[in-house]
């Protein structure tokens, strides 16, 4: 136990780096299979350790120190400039998710990497990325956040660059947006520095408390600083209008990389947005802004309401875009973007309603919102189901020889039932079928929206949910069922994943159901009992929310008993089973025995129909997608490109031109100075 007192916030990243170094060393092994297995074991063990530490810390298990006893890590650069990392409960909450996803993705990567793909960069860089994410989550200081953030972005860029599968420029788009984010973040920090007259530090929590004070003194500058700081966060969470990198980046990379990016890496954006929303609250609720942006629209400050509406629109639009995709990677990318917008919308709703409610009810400052916990819970749900969907796709990707387009996949479930089931449950969770994790989390979000009496918003969120049915079915049909597109002989050579992959798949499937069957316990566990504490606080303050272990209840507005739900759902299924078993017999027929005109299927006939699956409504909604933000960016880029080339065209190689230009400039300045 004595050794444990030396644990600091750096312990976990160091173990992850160690796993990464081991993986790099194992990369020298010539035997491909042994290399992969050893790399997998070393990195997965590191990830498992990280996961264990975080769970133990959050749950307060014995054997690890308490959260508060974990040594912070501080680097003093100058007298005023300090970098500081510290572990706090929200770090743990997000770190459990990241490390869990990391562990599963690393362990499952044996099944998703093709034989001719080099796994070493993946096994080396992914733990490094996770370590950087961990540092980001633990940074309590804007400068520290900046360094961790950029390290993270850089490692992610390296990964994307190595696994640039389709060569569509995805990594470079990502790099460009990361650069924009970095500049914006520096500008934001600088403005904060100016606004605080260089006196205060840049502590994150410090800022959340000092932002109201700063706003009173420098309303415009602080608002600008907060907005600038929000840009990199929104880029990471792929929130419009900063989302354009996401589909191409996710779509062009390897499924396992995309799994980690979509399920874990994007959650850093959610974490940052959480911080940002608090800063935003501090800004709009004080000084000059309280009467304009902070004025209540229904039960929420106007600024928050506008944000929430925009995010809900974004969720609807991305979900509509998702089902029109012809590539599974792109479909999941758009789906992921939609879900992220859901989460941020929930955050905005949760915190916004809390603030608005406080203004009306004059209760003390406590976090007791549905939306807040809905967002965190949905982050987990999304982490699990998106990871499962990408992992299942990855298994099909390996076996199909690198295909991700729907019209080149199909019927893999016949040979890979367990993997299919993982993808299927992931999709059930995505569309929030009751008893799935996705339902429990989305339920909280809907409750948040309805509790705030935002009915149109709720309807939009529900429609985004309905659109998710369309893409979920396309995923299921396009990859797993339908007709084999590569002939029967090829399909007979397809094998189910190994026993190791099956075990992982079963665990992931269990998780998908676990979070939906006993949501109260799981939510309480991952937030380190924060839910219970806040429920108690809110109950004492006469607040509206009660998240019970089995029941979600909102002030008489609604009630949902998950125990009854589980039992009655089972009853329904059992009765159906009774009808099924007592009725007549059945015989198994060939896959290809399907034509109603009795024409047997021939492998050379392509009737997959996946290319125009939702053709009719795609044609209906197509005109509304003519206006695209990406097109606007391209247009702007074109203009700037033209400007740059125009300036470049001045370069004639003749020094006299420059002389004349310089002279002209001097004359201009003199004229300006005179007037």
């Amino acid at each position: 136990m004595g050794m444990l007192t030396h644990w600091s916030v750096l312990t976990v990243p160091m173990v992850l780096v160690l796993g990464s170094i081991l993986a790099a060393l194992f990369g020298l092994i010539k035997n491909e299979k042994a290399k992969r297995v050893l790399q997998m074991i070393s990195t997965t063990a590191a990830a498992a350790f990280a996961l264990y530490v975080n769970i133990a810390l959050v749950a307060g298990w014995k054997g690890v120190p308490k959260m508060a006893d974990l040594k912070p890590f501080t680097v003093k650069l100058t007298e005023t400039l300090t970098l500081s990392w510290q572990y706090y409960w929200i770090t743990g909450t997000f770190a459990i998710l990241v490390m869990g996803v990391l562990m599963f993705v690393l362990a499952y990567a044996l099944e998703t990497f093709k034989d001719d793909e080099n796994t070493t960069p993946f096994y080396v860089l992914t733990p490094l990325l996770a370590a950087a994410i961990y540092m980001t989550l633990a940074s309590v200081n804007l400068i520290a956040l900046f360094f961790s953030w950029e390290l993270m972005s850089f490692v992610a860029f390296l990964m994307l660059l190595y696994y640039d599968r389709t060569k569509e420029g995805g990594p470079w788009l990502y790099a460009f947006w990361s650069g924009v984010g970095a500049m914006s973040m520096i500008a934001g920090i600088f403005l904060f520095y100016l606004a605080s007259d260089g006196k205060t530090g840049f502590g994150l929590f410090e800022l959340m408390q000092t932002v109201p004070v700063l706003t009173i003194k420098h309303p415009y500058m602080t608002l600008a600083a907060v907005l600038l700081l929000g840009v990199p966060f929104m880029i990471k969470a792929s929130i419009p209008p900063f989302h354009t990198w996401a589909p191409r980046t996710y779509g062009s990379t390897h499924p396992s990389v995309a799994a980690f990016f979509s399920a874990a890496y994007s959650k850093v954006g959610i974490f940052a947005m959480l911080m940002w929303v608090y800063m935003f609250v501090g800004t709009v609720m004080s000084g000059k802004w309280v009467t304009t942006l902070g004025a209540n629209f229904r039960n929420m400050p106007t600024a928050f309401f506008i944000l929430a509406i925009l995010l809900a629109f974004g969720a609807v639009f991305t979900s509509l875009l998702a089902f029109a995709q012809k590539d599974a990677m792109y479909l999941l990318a758009y789906s992921s973007m939609g879900q992220l917008m859901y989460m941020v919308m929930a955050l905005v709703l949760g915190i916004g309603i809390t603030v608005g409610y406080q203004k009306d009810m004059n209760v003390t400052m406590t976090v007791y919102t549905l939306g807040f916990f809905g967002a965190i819970y949905h982050a987990y749900a999304h982490g699990v189901f998106e990871m499962a969907a990408y992992m299942a796709l990855g298994a099909a990707y390996k076996r199909s020889g690198g295909e991700t387009e729907f019209n080149k996949l199909g019927a893999y479930a016949h040979r890979m039932p367990v993997t299919f089931f993982m993808g299927f449950l992931a999709m059930l969770s995505t569309v929030s079928i009751p008893l799935m994790w996705g339902f429990a989390s989305k339920y909280l979000i809907y409750q948040a929206a309805l509790y705030g009496r935002f009915f149109v918003l709720s309807a939009m969120a529900l429609i985004a949910g309905t659109a998710s049915f369309l893409y979920a079915f396309r995923y299921i049909h396009g990859i797993w069922w339908g007709q084999p597109t590569k002939g029967y002989d090829f399909m007979h050579s397809v094998k189910e994943v190994s026993a190791w992959g099956i075990i992982i798949a079963l665990v992931v499937m269990g998780l998908t159901v676990l979070g939906g069957a006993i949501p109260g316990q799981v939510l309480n566990f991952i937030t380190g009992n924060a839910v219970n504490q806040m429920v108690m606080q809110s109950a004492m303050a006469g607040g509206p929310l009660l998240i019970d272990k089995a029941v979600y209840m909102v002030n008489g507005f609604s009630i949902l008993h998950f125990g009854y739900l589980a039992i009655l759902f089972t009853v329904g299924i059992l009765v159906a089973l009774l009808v099924y078993t007592t009725s007549g017999g059945s015989r198994k027929v060939n896959l290809d025995d399907f034509y109603n005109s009795a024409e047997p299927y021939r492998p050379e006939w392509q009737v997959q129909l996946i290319g125009a699956f939702y053709g009719p409504i795609e044609r209906v909604i197509e005109p509304y997608f003519k206006v695209s933000i990406e097109r606007v960016y391209n247009w702007l880029g074109g203009i700037f490109g033209w400007f740059a080339s125009y300036i470049e065209s001045w370069n004639t190689g003749d020094t006299r031109d420059y002389t004349w230009a310089l002279a002209g400039l001097i004359v201009l300045l003199m004229v300006l100075w005179v007037f």
């Binding site: 479930a413 079928i433 709720s458 299921i476 299924i573 059945s586 009737v607 699956f613 009719p616």
Partner: protein, 319 residues
Amino acid sequence: MNTATVVGTASMGAKFLGALVLTLKVLIYLFLMVMIGLFLMGIYRKFTARVQYRVGPPIWQPYIDVIKLLSKKDAATKNWVFDLGVIMGLGGPLALLLFLPLDTIVGLNFHTKGDLILILYLAVVGPLGFALAASVGASPWGAIGVGRALSMMLGYELPFILGLLAVVAKDGTLLLQKVSAAQSMWNPAGWHYFQWPLILAAIGAHIALQGVMSEKPFDQAIAPHEIASGIMVEFGGKYLGMMLLMKAASLMAELGLFAVFFLGGTTAWDTIVKIFALFIIAISFDAVLGRFRPDQAFTVLWKWPTIIALLGLLLTVFA
């Protein structure tokens, strides 16, 4: 000690008996609902036949069909997931029925444990199960059918949800029993359907209800003349029989939900009457209308009923 044991046994026995009675009640309730649903389908066939100047089948024809289908000896199955999809497809609507206030018919009270959001999401389990089975069937017609069904779902969900949310906004609750209690049961003036501005929401939702029940003009998913009955193309024998049962259960659930929200709530038996009335209206339109193309149907649903329902919702919220 002896007495304690005896008492313990007795209480165990009582518990067991209670559970048995509860199970029986649940089974009777589900049986009753499905039977009424099948009866509605019989009415549908008779009614359509009369409109077409035919005699039509006897009104109990769906029962005969279901018995025949369930007794088929070797219905074709593709894969165990095909069977799973069908079981899920029937199980979902049955579970949904248990969360509707109709369950007070047999003295159950499960509907107080759920709310509207749950019902909306539970309602798609059945279609999703059958969609999965159709996908396993691998027939291109099935794929087209599912594509159309889901497109239609995206179409009708929007006005339907807007209409229901208007009631939620008015009553300030998602609980069906409270919505029910907010209306007077037999006096139409006390129904949400006939209250301004909820009547707009009700009309929008009522148009969408035609799509929810996939009656004409919104029956693109099962269009026997175009796509060989779409989703159902691979279902025969007991699978089709279970699909008919699912259709019956879904009919009761959808109409029941609408009746509870707009037609004066429920004390169970009156809802059956209202369901009959709603159904007759729906099939009257079904009998005389044609079928939209999928894109037309989607456009129509996202236009007029949505605008009407949205207007109703906004007027309710800002009133």
